[in-house]
Amino acid sequence: MQTFEMINIDERGLDIPYIVLISWLFYRLKLSGFRQIKRKGMLAMKSEILRKNSNINYFKRYWTLYLLMILPIAFFIVFRYIPMMYIQIAFKNYSIVQNIWQMEWAGNHGFEYFIKAFSNRDFIYALRNTLMLNMLDLVIGFPIPIVLALLLNELPFNGFKRVTQTVIYMPHFLSWVIISGIALQLFAPTNGLINILLNRLGFNTIPFLNEPTHWVFTYVLLGIWQSMGWNTIIYIAALTTINPELYEAASVDGAGRLRKMWHISLPELRPTIVVLLIMNLGHILGSDFDRPYALTNPLVTSVSNVISTFVYQNGIRGLQFSLTTAVGLFQSVIGVVFLLIANSVAKRLGERGIW
């Protein structure tokens, strides 16, 4: 069958092996082809048979690929797409005895729970906190990996570079519960390492985790600590693809290290930076659950309650399913909208964007 596909019909005409193959094919099609051939002409018939045959062949040879795909596709349908049907609960009055299609529509053309959410003081605070914490993460945390990657790229000693990478990637692999455990001990007001040192140096104790303003600061700082090393990976990958001749040419022209970083490395990183910036903007209203939940404590809930913890408290704990589904839907939709806006702005500015 393989050889048959390789024959070039137009050039070779009807030579003997070709006729043999064609007749064999006709035999397989139970001779029905002979009747059609009078109507359609030889060449059209040939290509049609070829196509049919290659389809049969194709599925014969590759059906196992579809077999492999069954489980993953079923996974995506069941655990990613079917939950989307449950989104209608946001527009309906949840009832434990009815299934989702039978529940009654909520008031105000179905938008009652959205209105309720926005008149809920806790939700407004959660929304504000989510935006505030994510903005701070973005503004303070986003540039740091870029700088680190540029510096790592300049490190002359390969052994030291490997050790550095190993160590600064490590915090990424610690869970937020562990980090919160470390932070509780490190920043403890009376016997934490940081405050002991501050006291010995003659400064006052700082309530890192027990006072809202300081908590926000600590939250952002711990986020940077956890992710700064890991986030350099993608930039380092991009930096290794830069043509070394660019640096050599710049050296010949007398450019120093800083000028090379500014005029070669940074511009080469620009597409990567833009893509990551778009992704980050798409997540500006998205909220991680583990991080605020693990780091919070009763003294700072005014700044630590975010949308994800609001959904947990009021949905899973408080059983207000319609309200919290509405909140979740709002969050997802805003996320997609932000992503689209950021992407189109980037494209308008002449960047490649994410798709």
Partner: protein, 290 residues
């Protein structure tokens, strides 16, 4: 070329910056380690910085005697192994067919999968689905719903895409089917990316607690270690033995907390350095192509 050039003062500045960063990453963990190995009195007297004072293993012994904690450690380890295997199988069987350029429906599958990265239904729809499927308070909820990560699948796919097509074609001519090619050519060539993604999945499961918090409310026996640790740290449940044996000084409970943190951290600190040489290569490939 780089190694032969002279060391400039700029290099020393950069090295200095990174030494500080390394210290910033390591010292907090050293501090916890020191606290977990010190005596309670030393902690109360603010003597413990980076080195244990009045060195002892009491806190570790106390934690190990707590059957709830040790069971949780064992259970989480079992769970992590199961999850990693299931996830890796799913990732491979999802990524491999998508590397066939002429696979019919490839674009459709790709779009369908990538879409879920940008839009998700949210916590509550998932919760209600698990409720309808009978997964609530069932240990399976910790394994199945997140057994395939789109992000990891893309890394896997990019890596497999990088394996030369000619290898596959020559195997096809020899009569090997897709599964045979996967098992005998593709998998042996992708050990680095498999090690990387296994690490990601394993760490994700070891570190995860929100799914148990939300979907395993009544089944405390199967709570993973992180959730138990969270409850200990926030005094929701203190390490029970501490109360039993009559310890009430705040210092001791701090050494205990430090020891519980160390127990939950150690497996990662032990496994991570061995696997990281793979993932620097593995992630880099995925990132460049992704």
């Amino acid at each position: 070329m780089r190694n032969t050039r002279n060391i400039k003062p700029g290099d020393l500045v950069i090295v200095f910056i990174f030494i500080i960063l390394i210290l910033v990453c390591l010292l907090p963990i050293l501090n916890i380690l020191a606290r977990s190995l010190s005596s309670a009195q030393a902690l109360v007297k603010n003597e413990v910085l980076l080195w244990p004072v009045e060195f002892n293993f009491d806190a570790y012994e106390t934690v190990l005697k707590d059957s709830k904690y040790t069971w949780s450690l064992v259970w989480t380890a079992i769970l992590t192994v199961i999850c990693t295997i299931v996830s890796m199988v799913m990732t491979v069987i999802c990524a491999y067919p998508l590397t066939y350029d002429h696979l019919k429906g490839r674009r459709f599958f790709n779009t369908m999968i990538i879409m879920t990265m940008y839009f998700s239904a949210g916590t509550i729809p998932n919760y209600l689905l698990y409720k309808d499927l009978g997964l609530l308070d069932n240990p399976l909820v910790l394994i199945i719903p997140n057994c395939l990560s789109v992000f990891n699948m893309i890394i896997m796919r990019s890596f497999l895409d990088g394996i030369p097509q000619s290898l596959r074609e020559s195997a096809e001519i020899d009569g090997a089917g897709p599964i045979r090619i996967l098992v005998s050519i593709y998998l042996p060539l992708s050990t680095s990316v498999i090690a990387t993604l296994s690490l990601f999945y394993a760490v994700g499961r070891w570190n995860g607690f929100s799914d148990a918090l939300m979907y395993m409310i009544n089944e405390r026996r199967y709570h993973p270690i992180q959730l138990l640790l969270y409850n200990i740290l926030n005094n929701v449940t203190s390490v029970e033995v501490a109360a039993q044996e009559g310890f009430s000084t705040p210092g001791l409970s701090d050494t205990l907390k430090a020891a519980t943190v160390m127990f939950a951290t150690l497996p990662i600190l032990i496994i991570y350095p061995w696997l990281q040489k793979y993932f620097i290569a593995g992630v880099t490939i995925g990132a460049v192509k992704g």
